[in-house]
Symmetry: C2
DNA sequence: CGTTCATGTTTACAGACGTAGTCGATTACG
DNA sequence: CGTAATCGACTACGTCTGTAAACATGAACG
């Protein structure tokens, strides 16, 4: 097993908000990240700084020096994060099968017409 | 505001394992819950007792006295929990739209042939 | 009746998380 | 050059979580 399992530390919900900002645009300074998220979540710059440090510690974000300060960029891709989180949910709640999740979403009427149309299109593609 | 919004406390992951046992069969004694989950998770009975207490405090589980001890039953339905958790994920990661989640699952090849067939069948039903 | 056993209650404690203040260094401005 | 603004690092602290031991109490058994 040369490959370290490397189960990376989970990203918490607050940290995730910071990641979203960086996924949208990067590299950013702590200041800029704050401009993106502090309003929405009612955070202070100090909070963002803490979250960024923790994300760096978790190796989810990397820094590059820019004079006196740092520029922050995501080190993991959004799609990987989203994939892992989705899988966790499907595993935990639906025994690892995606169909029951879909059935659930359908039954609870969380699917709009548009969703259904899109999914049909995707299915068509998958079957090709 | 007579109706408290009553945003019920979140159920943690460990607590969720206990809930699953109770959803499968209930009422159960703490002992019986432990028989269901302690093996899998490597817990002691004490841990299960703590989790049950916390679930009772969170009003996710109710008790009924049975002589000296209690019988525990879920107070919230599995479908409600699953619904809330699914919605949380979809909101957090896919802007509230289910189609992107589906697309993601499809692209990451987490959909088996069976899943696809099932989903097609569901779609057909939905369109009727 | 005294001891043991089962069971709920209370207490414990480390680590993660949310939120933020303080400190020391560096930069920039006057 | 001296002082103010800025920035990351360190510290703080209450809550939640995971995990469990200690304790109290009542039942059961000998």
């Amino acid at each position: 097993m040369s490959e370290s399992p490397e189960q990376p530390d989970r990203i918490s919900e607050a940290e995730h908000a910071v990641m979203e900002a960086l996924w949208q645009r990067s590299p950013l300074t702590a200041q800029e990240v704050c401009e993106e998220v502090c309003g929405l979540r009612g955070w202070s710059l100090a909070t963002v700084k803490t979250l960024l440090s923790r994300l760096v510690a978790k190796q989810a974000v990397e820094t590059e020096p820019d004079g006196k300060r740092f520029l922050y960029s995501p080190r993991i891709e959004r799609i990987a994060y989203v994939g892992a989180e989705s899988r966790r949910l499907v595993d935990r709640l639906f025994g690892g099968r995606a169909a029951p999740l879909f059935a659930h979403l359908a039954q609870s009427e969380q699917l709009t017409e548009d969703d259904i149309a899109e999914i049909e299109a995707l299915l068509k593609e998958l079957k090709s």
